[in-house]
Symmetry: C2
């Protein structure tokens, strides 16, 4: 039998590159076929390919990225306090309001973020109602600024005013601090989703007046809590530390209650303070975010590094920062819609584009990058357990190394993908995967689902081009 006839008389196992429908047709004819996920580098863009040729396998850049990796791995993060924003956040004042994502005007803010600003102004007693608040917000007297530009990260709208309280996390190794507003709990009547009713304002007041001093005293008493260690443990207890925070919140509760019991406060105060934590399975997300921010900020400004130090969205645009160009550069593209599971009665038509600084988790190798730790989460964000694993595997293609401190037992304790490299994103076309909550597009309607989001490729190509302009 000729070789070619031998080939065609044996079972065919086809490997298809390019258009996936070719593979689908073979499957329909009962021919075993697999699709190779491949696209030409930089989707065939010749200018980008030529830039990539210069930047890929470049020793200077590789060395700089190794340095960033060492900074991230040697960082030891500690939750040291809860304070009012104005007392601790740099360049924060009575007339400044911080928000999630890259810079945005009040006019361009999505519904939930506008609502959150109204809530903040009412809480600050700068406005009596929504009309007054909107008038003030559009008067030019209020400065809006990204949380990220103030060592801060805020979930969802991330709207933060002077007297709201924040977790304070210190990077003990490098001395820098990061901040994140307290997670108010689930449900729609929370300020971060744009609610500003009496209950919401009363909760913010209580957090400032009763919760803050008690929790702060307990944190001082124990000398701070090793938040990086809690994240590492939570990953081994089926959290991915973005949309599933049940273990992290439990471990935090276990860590703080013994010290709350040693403060001079009455039992009923200790009960209220501890129950605020105990009743919220997502409480620890805020600590994880500040922890990740304190870790990544230490790497900002490492010259020649192509590692991403921020992935952030304001519900209108998506912005990223990279270590090599430091904290002052935003690379921006349109925020995307989130693909996921909706709560009963809602659909993608009700949803706001991707929003919040919580993708700092992914930037640090958590969330979508550690989905293999949290098989149970597929019930919440959609997909199968196999998807969760394959998402993680695809993130190894666009990251610099594997995280030594955050590991995945089900991948035989392999480290989570660590350090998104813009060169690899542009080369492969593989985008970071973010597990995220989905907000209703109108203010005060809260979360309506959860799912998987991606940044737009534009952020990475812009960053690569700008990086190329600076690179000698």
């Amino acid at each position: 039998m000729s070789e070619i006839n031998k080939l065609f008389s044996s079972d065919l196992h086809a490997i298809n590159l390019g258009m996936e429908s070719f593979k689908d047709d073979m499957i329909k004819q009962d021919i075993s076929a697999i699709q190779v996920k491949w696209s030409p580098p930089a989707r065939g863009d010749k200018k980008l390919i030529s830039l990539l040729n210069k930047l890929i396998d470049n020793e200077e850049i590789d060395k700089a990225n190794d340095k960033v990796y060492e900074i991230l791995m040697s960082s030891k993060m500690t939750l040291v306090g809860v304070e009012q924003a104005i007392d601790v956040i740099p360049n924060m004042d009575e007339d400044t309001i911080l928000h999630a994502g890259p810079p945005i005007t009040f006019e361009n803010m999505p519904g939930p973020m506008k609502g959150a600003v109204i809530g903040a102004l009412i809480f600050e007693r700068k406005a009596k109602d929504a009309d007054e608040a909107v008038a003030l917000a559009t008067s030019g007297k209020i400065k809006f600024s990204p949380c990220h530009d103030h060592q801060t990260v805020g979930a969802m709208s991330g709207v933060l005013s002077a007297h709201m309280i924040v977790h304070v996390v210190k990077n003990e190794t490098f001395g820098n601090y990061a901040f994140s507003p307290i997670h108010e709990g689930s449900g729609y009547t929370v300020q971060r989703y744009g609610s500003y009713d009496e209950g919401v304002i009363a909760r913010l007041d209580w957090l400032n007046q009763e919760y803050r001093p008690a929790l702060n005293d307990a944190l001082k008493l124990c000398g701070g809590i090793d938040s990086g260690s809690i994240i590492a443990q939570a990953l081994h207890m089926s959290d991915e530390c973005h949309n599933r925070n049940k273990a992290g919140s439990s471990l935090f509760y276990k860590s703080i209650v013994p010290y709350l019991l040693q403060t001079p406060y009455e039992k009923d105060i200790i009960l209220r303070v501890s129950e605020f934590i105990n009743s919220n399975e997502h409480y620890f997300l805020s600590v994880t975010m500040a922890t990740s921010k304190a870790q990544l900020d230490a790497a900002n400004g490492v010259k020649n590094s192509t590692i991403v130090t921020a992935l952030a969205r304001n519900g209108y645009e998506f912005g990223i920062k990279i270590a090599g160009l430091g904290k002052d550069y935003w690379f921006i593209g349109p925020a995307q819609m989130v693909d996921g599971l909706f709560f009963p009665g809602y659909s993608i038509a009700d949803s706001n584009p991707d929003m919040g600084d919580s993708a700092i988790s992914e930037t640090a190798g958590l969330g979508g990058f550690s989905l293999g730790n949290a098989p149970a989460i597929v019930q919440f964000v959609g997909g199968t357990v196999a998807d969760a694993i394959s998402y993680v595997k695809s993130m190894y293609e666009i990251t610099w190394k594997e995280n030594k401190n955050y590991t995945i037992p089900f991948l035989n304790f392999r480290g989570t993908p660590c350090g998104v490299d813009i060169r690899k994103v542009v080369e492969t076309g593989v985008l970071p995967i973010i597990t995220t909550g989905i907000a209703h597009k109108e203010r005060g309607k809260g979360q309506i689902g959860a799912g998987i989001a991606n940044p737009p490729m534009e952020c990475f190509t812009k960053a690569l081009i700008e990086f190329g302009n600076h690179f000698e």
Copy 2:
């Protein structure tokens, strides 16, 4: 080319049955080969095969096993209190000492169990020292009786005397109760491993005098804690609920502290009581054991059922009970050595044969049967993550159904293997897998490792023969 020549000119993929060394030889010659794990039914024992032929695919038995499954699945277990043994355990008195596993004399008890009896007699103020305690234990004045025969399960030596305290779990669906001694913590200076120094006795006193009333009041205040629900959640947080109890213990702490804070006790007492729980990652094992016992006892006495309701070891012998013959029958064989990882400085030569009632976890579909939930545990008991999954898969071969309440996310939320069927064990030769601590063979030296244990096949063949004698 002739068919046979075609065969030998193509790549060979051999499937080997029988002696595994045939396969190994092929692998050495670079021939792809797999071994089919198969042995003749009942290892070729003709009497057993003839008995199996009568009992397998028998409608009466299958119906009875379905009934047992329904009892197990509809049971709702609640931790309702902590009490002194003598106040709640049936047929318990001042002169009775309970122990793990099937019946045993003081003389035959292994070192740790003898030490635990000495500790119990000193704690009860019936003896001043070890000599007096041994004299009393061998005088005939003390009655030794298996925990299991008193609705009780005890970890390791399981030695329990009148004034020690126990968790009280109620099966709300069927009204029966089960009991388990409080887990004293890790380390070697604990009574259950045979220590009886002053600190051990002082801890038992404190548990009775300060811990019991406070925890009991908190449990009354909250109307009991749904312990079955905590187990189900802990399985989704990477516990297997026998050797890994970190999530279960955390969830229990979270459940009880708010109620402790509402009791009238002073803060320092609440701190001591709650820290006893908080400082012990295995605390919840004892609750899991009593929960499993309350569940399985409800199925004892279902006529014609071949489902196992107890797997228990006293460090000398292994005993099982089956639903169809009820609580008065023990089927016994020698306790086996445990294969696992030893703490530094110890080896199998130091270890005691398999001991403790904690295999009630496996009987209920936990522990070795839910290893697929706890990939991180392979660092503790040995093996790889793939082993953990394949252990679970092999347990489906010997169980009646899949547990609807306890599921394994990594197997796409498949239920844990539920209801060990003695027919299937004898037919397949596959033995239940138990994840277990390894005790030093001398008293007071504590745990020296952890690993995987099996019951002896003898227990199952004896049970099957006796079942056959009763079955019409």
